[in-house]
Symmetry: D2
Subunit: 347 residues, 4 copies
């Protein structure tokens, strides 16, 4: 249940609403927004209670509306927040010119991650990615260096200034990962792990939420809603390929998701062509296509020795290929940006 | 890493292996099997350690082989265990003649679950299903009665003798749910929630593992392997529909999974046509088809008042329709069983 | 455009309608139906003409209604024809107790097809299938014996009494194939080859229409509508698997299509588990499941020497396996039929 | 069967091969190639004959190799022809800088197509598209103006200089359509209509071949192979979206197909974002993405009054939106081209 206060409501009215909610045994939550105050009750209610609370609260002063929306998303929608969300992470911004998050699939050693981070920064990357906790289809595969890996990521970040994006797999690990990471990544397999979404929603860290392999765009937004409803408004959405019948690529990158999400939500949208295609030779074309489609950023796998990588080496760019691609990305980004302002900058 | 002991190895040899593993800082785990002793090391190892441990252990007496199998499953395979696994839950058996697990999508009230359980038992159901913790796509939907719901399920079970199958959503909830439930259900969205799989694998409760909407049959078996590798050999697999392009049903029930899984694994296979189709009028035909395809059981949604159900009422059978269907199921089951013995029993 | 005449309309009124339509330059077509007269105009009309014709005809006596239905099907629907369509082919009937259509993927030689036909008949098959014109993904694959193959099929049919179902690939071949075949098969790749649908619709042969690999159920019915709209009311629908992400089977057999089609249309529904699964070891379970789901028949690939088959040998049953399966099919069919009448026949 | 002659073979040797083939009752076909002579025998052969012919021909002088390749494509592959195919149509070239094919879904009237063609040409389009023969899912939908529509297209082409791309639905219509059209389009539903592919392969018109909704990339190339094997080497491939589970777009545009096809084949690749997305507001982003991914061209639906279009108006750009998009396409194309030469032209 979400209570929208009128734009000109008074503080005393907000306080009265909070008291009324607590008086009925629920815990209200202020969901801040630039344009108005929104109060959420995230605890579940039985149907009868929903009706009772709606009747009670809608009569109080300062309340503009109450929404219960069964199957839909609200906080993630553009009608709720028309202006685009720009997320600041240290000195970087996600939501304007496209940013590039680069790094290996998994952190493998201190030396390797430091070297990759330095090279990625030199080529113009804005964020460092790398997995310390790895979800693996088989219980017998390498699952990451865990806290040791987080420490190496932090060291690489301190050295290069690149904020760290890294995955967290369980609600219990959220505090540990949040201690080292700048952005918490929730992977495709966990897109509907609601306890994890809510745990991430209770931190002050931006959350990088990947679309599930077989999740619709609406379901992605409903999963983002779980995080937003906990009061964390910093969610970055990531398209990373969906499962289809085509065997030539690991997944089918759904670039239509970029303009569609831009219509439906104010949250930034990043594309990961490495995991989508599973083949490094396809990554440059898809990365450029994502930028041309209007993505706010790219997540790219880069490795100093892809053939020896412990996971997903087949899809990692070499550092040289990454450096070359970064120059192309800049040109396409410039071409797109020029076209939006309606004039050629370099003409 | 899994160490297969030779069928005639001695106890002292097993003890020596266990000591050697502990001496290297790992925690060995006996994975019992009817036909031979198997020792597992589930903790992750770096590549170097894998080689070191393999060299060490393969030289010890009584060891027949060591397998590390990157992307494949072992404990779930028929080559590892040729005989079919039959799982006993109180006085019921899963893995022989088909069993029926019936009940509402969500436990809604004490009265309702007691009434449904009594009627389901009277119609011949063997297990009671019902969700107390409900995973919901939207954060604003009803998420179940939680512990209160578990208590009602327990009461209904005590009254009717039907063991309870109910879903658990997070590793932390496993002990609580295991206190009330006879079988722990892991839902489709959580099929690759590895922390949850491992937590369930550490209990002594059978685990009912649903195939993810986007999961291949091999991935389902690899998720079962996570549970088996923790030493819990009681895993029941459930086909419940996959996502396809067809909009006329909620999901496409993949009945080919039944004979395929029978070839690939010794674990029992149950089919849930209610969630697959999403339409109650399709459930009887698909339930009978599943039995004819060789399923070891069915999970069916039944409700005393489907139109008023808090979730998934559209796919729940009425108690009358369920009673009628149970008679048909028995006849098809008899026809299939007769054909396997090669003679008509009633001829 | 379809003109529904009132059930009690007079012959003179029908004649007047036909004349009015011809007077506007269109060719009317009587689409016979057991319950009422229906007149179709299948030629395309511009939008303006649709309005003009509707105004003209709706004012004439005996006309109950006029439908233009853009995206929907009419003649195939159960509301148009509530009673089930039963199709007679020589002395066989499709639409009652399940029939079995058996034979090789492709006709390979006279000896082979005669031997298979005799054995299939002896085991209880009702129809002989076999391709003389084969659609092949590659231009370099064997495309069938063509007219020579048709002659062998006819000879095998005369010998055994089994009517022949065989595929036709192009509108030009329709007369040739219709000369030898009892039932014209239109394959999955041609489900939306509209010229072919219409050419088959203009014959007096029943048409066996296979669902496309990625066709929705509604699209299958719309393709059937093309045939029905040409005045040929004898259409048999065939579910043969759809394309999904699952690699373990060639296609995913969608058995939900059986009860769904039974709700939506009066046309009989046959299932082909051989092409769906692509693996002979899965065929028996899926064949029995199809019968239990209520299918009006099965199409099964059978070969006297599957390992040497020129196409699709991997999915063909041996003659022995087919014989054994036929006995099982009979038992499941009996169990289903018993349950419908509500009593056990052999009790 | 394809016979590759050695690069330095003599004319007399080729003549001898042709005679030998005719002597065995087959009709050889010279498949010209810039780099060497290739002789094809497209007629089907029984297995025994394949062996016999291979033995016979491989002994003759000038023959470098013989390939029968069951399930694979040859003439479409880059190993067969390393240099890219550039197709000239009047004064336009497909295969270099991206070309734009624009026009309405269906030709609706003379006035409309002339107006659209003039405006499209003024905005920089290179080809005029428009359907005179329309394949429709329902038999009751508008199927195009047929020859009348072809005449209007020709008139519009003569007026503007834009070559015409238009769909042909059946083998019989190929001569008629080829009389008016510059490029024959084979639509997605007909991608595996082999008679149609072969009829188009026997003309001297370039063929625009759309990927089927359910077709893999390999199957698309095998369908192209049908055309190439008839001696027509001018095939343009078109990615236009595949069917997936996602309901927010009509189809899922698979842009990975662009770099993949560029690796696998020498044929040019065009993208149709209008049919893929089904929503005009997504078309600009996807069009730019396709160009950035390296497509050789775009097919775009444009209409002077989309809301009143007889088919697919929902996905057609207005003439104004098209004009604006053309400028963006040029900039992205320039950015991509610059990056390939490694220097900014305008810097």
């Amino acid at each position: 249940m979400v209570i929208l206060m009128s734009p000109d409501c008074r503080k005393a009215e907000v306080a009265e609403i909070l008291a009324a909610i607590r008086g009925r045994g629920f815990e209200p939550r202020i969901i801040s927004s630039l344009s108005r105050t929104v109060i959420g009750i995230v605890e579940e209610m039985h149907h009868g209670r929903v009706e009772e609370m709606t009747a009670l609260l809608s009569g109080l002063p300062g309340v503009e509306g109450i929404e219960t929306f069964g199957g839909s998303f609200k906080l993630a929608s553009r009608e709720f927040r028309p202006e685009r969300t720009i997320i600041r992470v240290r000195d970087k911004y996600i939501g304007g010119a496209p940013v590039v998050m680069a790094g290996p699939c998994a952190v493998e050693s201190r030396e390797s991650i430091l070297r990759i981070a330095e090279m990625a920064a030199a080529s113009g990357a804005s964020f460092l990615r790398g997995g310390a906790f790895k979800p693996r289809t088989s219980p017998y595969s390498f699952r990451g260096l865990k806290e040791e890996g987080l420490k190496y990521l932090r060291e690489a970040s301190n050295l290069t200034g690149l904020p760290v994006v890294t995955e967290v797999l369980t609600p219990e690990d959220v505090p540990l990962v949040a201690e080292y990471a700048d952005v918490l990544q929730i992977g495709a397999r966990n897109m509907q792990n609601y306890a994890l979404l809510e745990a991430a929603g209770e931190t002050d860290r931006p959350v990088f939420l990947k679309r599930g392999l077989m999740a619709t765009i609406k379901e992605l937004l409903l999963s983002a809603e779980y995080i937003l409803a906990k009061g964390n408004s910093q969610v970055i959405l990531c398209e990373r390929g969906i499962r289809t019948f085509e065997p030539a690529t690991r997944n089918t990158l759904d670039l239509s998701a970029v303009p569609l999400l831009k219509e439906m939500t104010h949250l930034p949208v990043v594309v990961d062509p490495s995991h989508a295609s599973g083949k490094r030779e396809l990554v440059p074309a898809l990365a450029l296509a994502a930028v041309a489609a209007g993505a706010d950023g790219l997540m790219l796998e880069v490795h100093d020795n892809p053939e020896a990588a412990l996971s997903d080496g087949r899809q990692s760019l070499t550092l040289e290929a990454f450096d070359y691609l970064m120059k192309k990305i800049e040109r396409v980004s410039m071409a797109i940006h020029e076209s939006e302002t309606g004039e050629l900058k370099c003409a």
